[in-house]
Every structure is written in structure tokens, then in C-alpha cells.
Symmetry: D2
Subunit: 414 residues, 4 copies
């Protein structure tokens, strides 16, 4: 949960307004029907994201801490709770895509009403409740990233392959040669401490021991991935984890998600700007952990650990790089900041730090209960709202999931 | 396929216009999002029904028989073919609900364009092609019934239980006592011959032998079904077919589809007009064959055979009874016509009649290929467009399916 | 159930002894482990067949009608009841293959003990109970056929492809040309009446109307099936029922069950005598209804109806032909009797005859409850104990099942 | 793989003989049919274990390093390879239970032949190949543990609940009070180095940092588990990981595996000695990680990390405690050694140690490819052959698996 002991440069109200506006901007290119669909239980409808983030503010701030607040709609909590068991019964996740009513316009009205109530109440909220507002902003930022990756999935299921919006011009440049940067390792500190917001899972800050190691100075590119494919990467079991190989066989995996061999034999990729040729010099994304790990083995390297990544990049500015500033067809374009373009798989399981204590109360259901079977990703992606990430940030997904902007930065022993 | 040797009373153009308009009327209460959803692979989105019926006219008449006709959209055939293998690749049925684009407005424009082209071309079409127009009308009528049963399913998946439209006032009257009518049996003729439209599976007309039998003069009511439930109907294996009992156990079946026990212990039912109390005197609907068969066994009776039903009601006017005249929240209300309210399960498998010949050409994929594992239903329902049904009509579904307006008329040996 | 009003030529005791001995002979080539395995929920372990048939006699005769009889083992009824809901809880069918104890020797002891008790009691049993003995014999004969088809399945799952026993020499002769025999149709009688045993589902005898028709004078051969395959039979959707085509695609079907393309590209078939080359002139077996129906369509013919088959062959001796006389690696060899070699799919659904009444009591669970979704097969197979079949016999399986000796006799309209 | 630089006290030949004999002893109480069954794809038939361990010696020593050795049976490699992709095609794991032939006697003959050949060759083998023999012994010891847990599963599927062998007398004593032992943490070394056998995944030895912590001095007992159950442990979602709660709901979990509520409402447990009452003072076993983790949360404690466990018990003798000495109905009885009774779940994911290098060659497929989604268990169980375990040993299973002897030792922050 939030530790917002110090005022950030922008006021909380400004940051609230800005975050809330961005969600509305993200909705703008979509029809009510676009915003209603759910392509898979892992993903959620755009409308649901817009409503659920609003439900979070309504529930944990307005309902719990603003005297006299009446719910916008008594039925919404059932529809828009995500997974907080402590908040009672909720609509089953796989059925979120069968809710054509309320209409998108109703959701926008819901957002406006909660915004009005919250901004009115904000000046009088206690610091503890203001910390919930901060948490709600961070939470909505997470859903903005999911919004984009989920709508990409949704649109990809339409045989017409429609674009979310227009995108940037196609680029054919090669990437610069990859170089290795050495890090001495030794005893380092990782995890969050001090001022500024963090999630409970990032704490406590603690020491870790690292052997000397090297990290690649850039992400693996689409051209490099194509080489791996040509070299039989997807048909060589010795490159794969056992679970990964089973996943490849069972699902007929032969390329990154959203790559498709067109009728003329060329590979294309589906993006928020529609179907496009490969951009050889740009980072490859939408990879599972299994693929990232197999690629690293093929390349005689390995994935970094979380601590290696964090120690190496703790002093880089996390607000630089290719991250989300405004609604649009974001995509990786290659950048020298370790933050941005795509999340980078680490070989570290998402587990509690020594001394981890979950946040108290219902909001504490947030992170700890997912600490099983998932891997940590570090950095940020082109769909991460700028300002959301930091060195200690722990993103996490199951090893087979790949609908996020996920990619590979290689590591090796020094 | 059509046998339209004789002009019907209304001209073909008039009937075309009327049918096409009804589909648009059915769409009127729906938003684009409502019309996009698919609750289950057995059902289709409203938008898809509206487009697929249009694709049928465009393909088998305009494309094949109208010189110079250009497709409205080259992509539509892939999206809106249903199951005609002869017509090439098509969008997988279970994914029909992930197509938010084209927008409903685009589909309405598609409908208008095809209507214009078809009505212009109609006067010059050969009798054979006019027979395809007739087939297309009949086909669209079938989809109008599915439209209503599919949207009922869709809306039922929304926890808010929204209504399609307002419905008729709630009625609490009991039904009149059920009486048995005796039929002598002997050698009868069933199946279609002569003028007027029929599907290939209704032909040829042929003789059948019947022992004397009795048919109930009305449908089983909701009150009678509640009695069956109270008497342990759903927990007594000896009442059920082996496959039926497995279906009950596996799916936890304990009432007709759309019945739900409310928090105060009363049973309600979801209808096109939203959730409603039972109407004791009105026919129970949304039953599987398994349930209908178990009920009949419990009632010391049986289901009629197709030939028994047809022989008994061949001289009744099939355009009477509670059938679909205009868009709205149709529901059974009990009526003395055997046509209307709900389709009636027979104990006859849907199999070819002796001498059956499928229609030639792609349209011949229509009926014969489903002759396996399904049971025949006779009559018509409150969702059947008036004028569509007739005594020889063979409706058919799998024994576990129950999202149609399906009910029970009992029979017994005389 | 049994109608055994007239003594058969052999005494009941003799027929009991002979039937019971054949089951033991069938077990002889098997180890305890062979007899324990269950390759699929549709099939049962050999040991289970041997015990279940014994349980039938123990339960319905000794337990119910022989004063002072004590169960051989209190636990066996739970293990060896098949599907009689009226007989209480039972071991789940898919788990029958996890019962290594009792040992096969224990089952043989169980058989011997029940045989002793039953043969002692037999002289004093009432006619009604003797009818149950007759039913038990018929029941055991059915299981003898399943025993052979189930052990074939079991052995086929072993990569070593072991033989059940040695088989007859391989034959390469072609079959004689197929000829058509005309039948006039008209009003015929089918179903069982009068003396001799029959199952309830064969009754009552009743009239049926048939149009003139033709039947092939022999079964379809392996060579003819190979032609169908070479002609693209398994890749031409228009030949298949809709459910059949889905079955082909989902299961990657490309040949009859137990056919396998060897490393040198030749087709072989697994038999009770191990793997063998095709025998071109001999009947093809182990076909689903879907395949039989598709073949008939490809051959411009159709499958016969049950009534057509029965009317045509009612006067042929059902105890002739290639049927089971003693334990061994039975297989079809082609014969001019319609009884034997393999069961012949009809296009008739397995449904109640007009006026059908299930047998009273628990044994009446036998046939009626399966009247849904299955098709009737007529004749007999090389695994049917000679003396078991007759013209009115109704064998039945689901359309996708093909582990029985099932084949094709063509019909067409005259 | 083996690092056997120093002779162990017993000669390699003696240890080989002893290990091979124990497997035969384990088989002694089983019939061929018992030894053929596979209750689940996770488990293997006893016969398979006996053959696969022999295949390992035959392949990696006799075939690869003994000139002129001829395979015992050309078909066996296909049947008895487990998962070494580098060793070619193999029989699908889920079908191992359908192989009644070869007979158990054939497998025993296979064992004897390989033993003869191997013992003859042993004196002349190079140190490198002798290391493979050591690896084969360790490998067989692992399979001896699986043998016992797999046959327990197999027998548990038989409704008669047969015992593997007789067991020790039932005990009703309570356990001593649990006490906490403090450990200072700091910088510790874990992982294997130096002489003696280890698996590749235990290496390299490396430093780790630990905060001060406490470990319970004994395992959680059956009585304590019953308390957890009475307190609603299995119905309180906040105690569970998200994946764990889904697992509980989906599988209807309400007790440890093999616990069963008998007809009189008492809980019993199925053991290798058949069904037994609980033994309140003895360790509870057959727990998933999910259950262990939920219990720890309920008890205001947590599971230890791998490093905490290893650092605390590195100086304890791993050959003490309740471990496997001879074939029989082993079960936990409570003991003050941390080695024995049951494996103890840690909260550490099974991942590579820093600097991990998989063994070269096909045998290197052994450990590294499973480093995903599994948790480490430390210690040893009553089914672990004495002498097999050590402080650095890393056992690993998926969080839902619980057919091993797995239990709980609590930890907490000091």
C-alpha cells in the first residue's frame, strides 16, 4: 500500500485528475461493443477496467470514509469487484465479457460521479485515507496498462484485424550491436524503503549477495528472434524447460504471440495499429517466460535475477524511456533506458521478501496471495503510464502468459 | 429447399420486405454491444443473425445470379457463413462473440444495400432463383426465432438480469384440466407433398402405421412441473434415460432452464421481459428432451411420436396460436392451438424419411447432415414467425439442448 | 428378459455350464495383469467381465431366490454391479482398471462357488426364476463378446502389440463381386413374439411399411475401404454427417480403428492375433456409424434401416456364419450368412417399438434406459457366441464407437 | 551427477547390490497386476520403476561403455525411458499403466541380467563411468521412494483398500509441546561442495544472507491438523494463496490426501498398512504446499526458506531419523531428527543456484529442466532410503502435489 509521507511534486488532486482523464482518453477510440468484449478469462473488458478502478475509489474511500455517500448503483459492487474475497460475492471473472449493460455511457457517468465526490472530499481526508487515494491512482495505472494489452488481445480475435488507433510509421533500421556491461555484484540492497509510494511486496528493503555478472545493454530484437526461429528454436526440446516444452507442444507454439505467417510466407505482427511487418531492429515483445528462457539458453546466456536487474539499474531514472504518456497505438521502439519498451523477464520467482508483511485489511489481498508459480518482471513497458514504475517495482506473471509487452534482456556470469 | 410452384397470397417481394423488416424491428431494443455478445457456442450474436441472413441472399442470389453484383464487403463472407463447407473457410462458430466490428450500423447498412439490390433484381429472376429467395425468407424466419432465444440467453448471463423489452402483465390463473383425445391410428400419410414451401427433410410424403393413441389437449404447465420437482423428479434415477441422468448429475440440473430459486425460496423464471414469478397455468418451456421424457415417465405417459403428432394435427390451422407477429418479449400464454407457445418434443429421432434426397448444391448442406443424435419437435413456439410452421415441419435439437421454447405434450397408448 | 416357455434342445443346466466354461476358456490366455487392465471407460477389464456376470447370477438368483445363500464376498456387489441404479452404490466405471485385487484366481474361485450353488439350486427353481437363469446366460454371452473386443483394445495399447492368441493364416484372396438383392417391401412384421428368449426391447412384434429396396449380398471389404481412403474419403466433408465430420477433425481419424500405417507406408491392422497386413477380400471392421454412413454416401448407396434388414433376413438361420464357438483370435473371414463376421450398422436409431414395456424390476434397467442417441446394428459378429443372435436382435452403440466388430452392408432404393 | 572422488565406506559394488536388492524386496508383496497399475499420470507402475532403473544402468553404462554388450530386449528402451528427450522416442507417460506385458517375472529377469553384466564389468570401469554407476544408485533410491508413494496411491484407488503389508501397531500418544529454536542468521553457505555425491542442482555452494529466525523443533501433528480443520481452515479464503484457494474449490479439498471421513463421522487415513485411525501425536503427511502454507498462516507463522532450513540442520546427521531401511509399510512416527518422517515444504522456489551448470550430456536433462513452478522440500521421509539424503538435498514438487510423504515444519522471524 501507499507510503506517501512526502508530497509529490504534483498535488494529489492533480495526479488523480490526470490519471482519471487518461483512462477516459484510452476509451475514446472504442465503441461500446469494443469495450464490452473479453477475449479470455485472463483479460478484462475495457468497460470493466474503467468501472473497476472507479469501484476501488468508491469502495475504499467514499463508502468507507465519506459520511453520507450513497453508492452510485447498488449492483455495481457485485459487477466490478475483482478478487477481493473480503468484499463479498462478485461476478465470475470468465463471464465479464457478457455484460453489455450498463452501457459505456453509464460507466462514464459513474466515473464522473465518483470523481466529483472524491475531489470534493479530498481536502478533508485524513493522511491515511489520502494514502488510499494514492493507492487507487497506482491501481488505476496498473489497469491502464492492462487496458491496452487486453484490447490488443480483443482486437486480435477479430478476423478483420482492426486497429485500435493509427500508429507510428514503420521502421526498418537495424539495432546497434548488443554490448555487455559488467557489474561487480557483492552485497547489495534491494527492495523499497523510505519515502514515495510502493506496494507491500516491494518491502522490506534488504541485503542480497550477488556474484559478478553482466547485463546486455539493450533488449533482444525482432530480427534476433527471427534468427532463433530459423535455427529451430521452437523445435529443439533441449532448449526448453520441461513445462515450457509441454506448453509448446500442446499449443502448437511457433512464434511470439501476435506473430502470424501471412499467405506469402512472411511473418507479420498484430499491433494496436493493426497488422504490420516485423521491425527488425525493434524489441521483440509478447513472449512467455518459457520463450525468454529458451532463447537465453540458445544464446549461451541466461535471464537476470531480480536482484541483478535492480542493483544494476537502481540509479537510472525510471521516468525516462518509451512509456505511456497519452492514449494511442503504443509499441516498442528501442531505447537506451532500461525502463520502457517492454517488461523484462527475470529468472526470479515472485515470492515474499524476508520480513514481508501484507498490508492490513481488504486492500492487503493485493499482492501476497499471488506469490506462487509466477516470475518477476522488471522495468516498464510502452504501455506503463510514465511515473508508475521504479527500480523496486515487481511485476509478475505466470510463465506461459504473454499478452503483456514482455521481452528479453540477457545476462551472464562475469 | 423451396417448392414454390404456386404464388402465395402475398407477393414474394412483399413477403421479403416484411421478413426483412421484422429482423430490423427485433434489433431495435438492442445496443450494439447487446447485439455483439455470444453467450455460448450454441447461440449466436444478434448482429451475426442479422448479417448471416443477409449473406445468404447476397451469396446464393446476388453473387450467383445477378450479373455485375459486387460484394458489399469482401470480408463478410468469411465472417457470416454459418456452416456451409462448400462455401469455403469461415469464422469459427465459438468466436462469433468477439467481433465488435463491423458496428451494428454497418450491418444495418449491409442489410439495406442487399435489400435494394435484391428487390431491384427480383422481377427478372428465374423461377428457380425465386425459389432461392423463398428459401432465404424461410431461412431468415428460422433465424428470427433463434435471435429471440439467443438474446434471452445473452441477457440471462448478465447479473443485472436486464429485460429485452417490457412484457405482458403477469397472470395467475390455473390452466383448465388436461383431457385426452383419442386417435385411431392405422395407416396414415406424413411428410410434405404438393404445393407450398417445404424443407427437403420433410419429403417425401409417405405412409406410416400407427396403433391407436391418445394426445393431451394442452401443454404441461408450470404448476405441473413444480409438482414434478416437489415429488423428487430431478433426484429419481429410474425416471431418466441413462444419458439424461448423467446430464442431470454432471450439470447439477434441478429445474428448467431460466428457473432460479430466489433468496426467499420461491422459484422465478427469467424471460425476455426480465425476471418474473412463475405463472402456474401457463406452459412450462425451456426443457431438454431428457426432462420431457422423464416427466412423461413420472406421469405414466410418454411423448408422442412425430407421426402421431402430425397425423393428429394435420388438419389444424398452423397459422393460429401464440406465434411471433412483431418484436417484443414473447412468452407462452397457453392456447388451444397445437401450433404456438412452445415446440413439443417427440420421441422420434431426426432421421431421413424413406426416399429422402438432399437438395442439390451447397444449399443442400442444410438439413441432411444433421440427421444424427437429434430429436424432432413439432408445432411452433411464441418465437416462431407466424406463417413459418406447418404440420410437416420438422424442428430438431439435441436431447440436452433447452434454450429454445420447448415443452411437453403428453401421449399414451389408447 | 427371458421368455423361455419352451425347453431348448439343450437343457438349461447344460447351456449354463457351457456358457460359464467358455468365459473361463476366454480367460486362459491371459495373465492376472492382462485381465486387470481397462483401456478406456467404454471397455472393462476381463476380470471384471468374469466377475460381473457371476454377480448377476449371484444377485438375481441366489441372493433373491435361494434360501440361506450367503454372499461369496460382501464387498463384491459394490465392485461388480455395472449400472443397475436399483442395486445401490457401485464402483465408478472409469476406475474399474485400478482393481488388482481380488486376484484372477479369486475371481475363478468366485465363479466356481456360484456355479456350484446355482447348479445345485437349479432343479428346484420356479419357472420365473429359471427365466432369470436364461437371462443370465444371455447376459454372459453379451459379455463374452465385450470380453474379446475389450481385450483387443487393451492389447492394442501396449507398444509391444502382443497377441491374445495365435490366429488363422493370412489370406490374400479377393472377395467375389458384390451383387444387389431386391426386396419388395410392403407391410412387414418385425420384432419378437412367441417362444424363445428375447430382450424386452425386441418386443412387441409390430407391423412396418417398407418401400422396395435392395441389399448387398456381402459386406464391404478391406480392399474397398482402402479405395475409399485413397479417394479422399476421410478428407471430404460433404460425405459426412456434421457430427461425424467434427469427430474426424477432432480425433484426427484417417482409417478404421486398429489400422496403422507402418514405417514402410503400408497399412496394417491390429487383431487378436497381433499386427497383420490387410486381407483385401475380407470384411472391414471396427468402423463407426459415421464412417459407415460416409462410405455409403461415397458409394451412392445408403445404410439399410433396421426393418429392411430384419425383413430381408428373418428366414435365414441365425446360427450359421462366422460366430464364436471357442476361445481364440477370432476375426472376420467373409461368409454368405448375414449373421457373423461383423455387426452391420443400420440407419435406425435405437428407440422403443410402439407399445414397448420395459421388464419390471431391477433387471428392467437393462435396455430402455439406453434409448437415446444410439444406432441399431443387426446380424452378429465373429465374437458373438453362436446361438446368441436372431433376426429380431437389436444391438446398439453410439455413432462414434468402433471398438466392436462393426462393418457395412449397403442398401439402396429399388 | 555424481562426484564420487572418495570411496564411500561400503564399496560401490556392495552399495549397488544392496540398492538393487531393496527394489526386489519392495516388489515382493505385490502381484504382477498390482505392479502393473498406474493410478495417475504423476505416478508410475511398480514394474515400471523396477525396469526404468535397470534401463538407466543398461543405457548409460552397459550400452555406452561396455564393449559387446547386447540389449536385453530391443523394445525395452522405448518402454522404459522416462523423459530423456536426448534418448529418443518413448512411451507416453500417462499410458504406462496399460502395459501388462512384459510380465513382472520378465522384469525380474531383466534386472538379474543387467546386474550380472554390470557387476562383471564394474572392476574395469573408468572413474567417470563408475560415477555413472553411483548416479544410477542414487537414481534408483529416488525411485524406491516413488515406488512406495505410487503403490500407496494405487492401492488407495481400490475400493477394498488393501494393505501393501502389515504395519506397526497403532499409537495414541500425544506429541511433546512444540518449541522454537532460534538461529542467528547472518551470512551462511549453502549448496554442495567437496567430496561425496550430489546432484547438479545442489551446486555450486554459495553464500546467502539470513535474518535471525526460529524453527519449530518438531513437525506438525495429525492432532494439530485436525484443529486447523475444525477451525475452518479449509473454508477460510484469507488463509490461502489465490492459486491454493482455487485448487481447494475446484477439487473439493477438505482434508489431507488419504484422510477420509468414515460412516461414523470419524476421520481415518489410508496407509501402506491399510486404513487406520488418526494417530494424534504423529506427523501429518501428504500435504500440498498450498495446505502447508495456509496452515502456517493460520498458526501465525510461516514456512522456512530453503537456506534457513539448510543452515539450521547442516550439522545434524542425515542418516538418522525415520527413514527407509527395508521393505514394509513405512509411516511417520515422529522423531527428533529433522531428517525422516516426511519432507518439509519450504517457501523457496526450485530455481538454479547462482552459477548453476547442468551436467553435460543426456544425464544432464535430469534436474535443470524442472526449474519452474515447483517448491523445494528439505529433509527426508520414512520412504527415503537411508543414506540417500543430506542437508544440501533439494527435493521439489508442484504446489498442488501431495502424494509424497510431505509435511510441515514451521518457521518465524526471530
Amino acid at each position: 500500500m501507499a507510503r506517501a509521507d512526502e508530497p509529490s511534486k504534483a498535488s494529489l488532486a492533480d495526479r488523480y485528475r490526470r490519471t482519471r482523464r487518461l483512462t477516459c482518453d484510452l476509451l475514446a477510440p472504442l465503441s461500446d461493443a469494443d469495450a464490452t468484449l473479453q477475449p479470455h478469462p485472463d483479460a478484462s473488458p475495457s468497460k470493466w477496467h474503467a468501472a473497476h478502478t472507479t469501484w476501488f475509489f468508491e469502495t475504499f474511500i467514499l463508502r468507507d470514509h465519506v459520511h453520507g455517500y450513497a453508492l452510485f448503483d447498488e449492483e455495481y459492487p457485485f459487477l466490478f469487484n475483482s478478487y477481493y474475497e473480503g468484499e463479498g460475492e462478485r461476478h465470475a471473472r470468465p463471464n465479464r465479457g457478457l455484460v453489455s449493460r450498463p452501457h459505456l455511457d453509464d460507466i462514464l457517468a459513474y466515473r464522473a460521479a465518483v470523481d466529483d465526490a472524491l475531489l470534493s472530499a479530498l481536502p478533508d481526508l485524513s493522511p491515511k485515507v489520502r494514502a488510499f487515494v494514492e493507492l487507487g491512482i497506482q491501481h488505476e495505472q496498473q489497469h491502464q496498462e492492462l487496458f491496452l494489452t487486453d484490447i490488443l488481445w480483443t482486437l486480435s480475435e477479430n478476423p478483420l484485424l482492426p486497429a485500435y488507433t493509427e500508429g507510428p510509421p514503420q521502421v526498418t533500421d537495424a539495432a546497434p550491436d548488443m554490448r555487455w556491461h559488467r557489474h561487480d555484484g557483492g552485497e547489495v540492497e534491494i527492495g523499497h524503503a523510505g519515502d514515495g509510494f510502493s506496494f507491500d511486496c516491494e518491502r522490506p528493503r534488504h541485503r542480497a549477495l550477488l556474484a559478478p555478472y553482466q547485463l546486455a545493454d539493450r533488449l533482444i530484437t525482432q530480427a534476433e528472434w527471427a534468427e532463433f526461429m530459423i535455427d529451430g528454436g521452437y523445435s529443439t526440446p533441449s532448449l526448453w524447460l520441461s513445462d515450457g516444452w509441454a506448453w509448446v507442444k500442446e499449443n502448437g507454439i511457433e512464434a511470439p504471440r501476435y506473430w502470424r505467417r501471412s499467405d506469402d510466407g512472411e511473418w507479420t505482427r498484430f499491433t494496436l495499429a493493426g497488422e504490420r511487418p516485423l521491425e527488425p531492429g525493434r524489441p521483440v515483445t509478447h513472449l512467455s517466460y518459457f520463450e525468454a528462457d529458451a532463447f537465453a539458453r540458445w544464446a549461451d546466456a541466461r535471464l537476470p535475477t531480480e536482484a541483478e536487474w535492480e542493483a544494476a539499474y537502481a540509479d537510472r531514472d525510471p521516468s525516462r524511456g518509451n512509456q505511456l504518456d497519452e492514449a494511442g497505438a503504443v509499441m516498442p521502439h528501442g531505447d537506451d533506458s532500461p525502463y520502457g519498451d517492454c517488461w523484462q523477464w527475470t529468472q526470479s520467482a515472485y515470492l515474499p521478501y524476508p520480513g514481508f508483511e501484507p498490508e492490513a485489511g481488504t486492500v492487503g489481498e493485493y499482492n501476497g496471495k499471488f506469490m506462487c508459480g509466477q516470475f518477476v518482471l522488471k522495468g516498464a513497458s510502452c504501455a506503463t503510464p510514465r511515473g508508475h514504475s521504479r527500480a523496486t517495482y515487481r511485476n509478475f506473471f505466470y510463465p506461459q502468459q504473454r499478452w503483456q509487452f514482455t521481452g528479453v534482456r540477457l545476462a551472464r556470469n562475469a
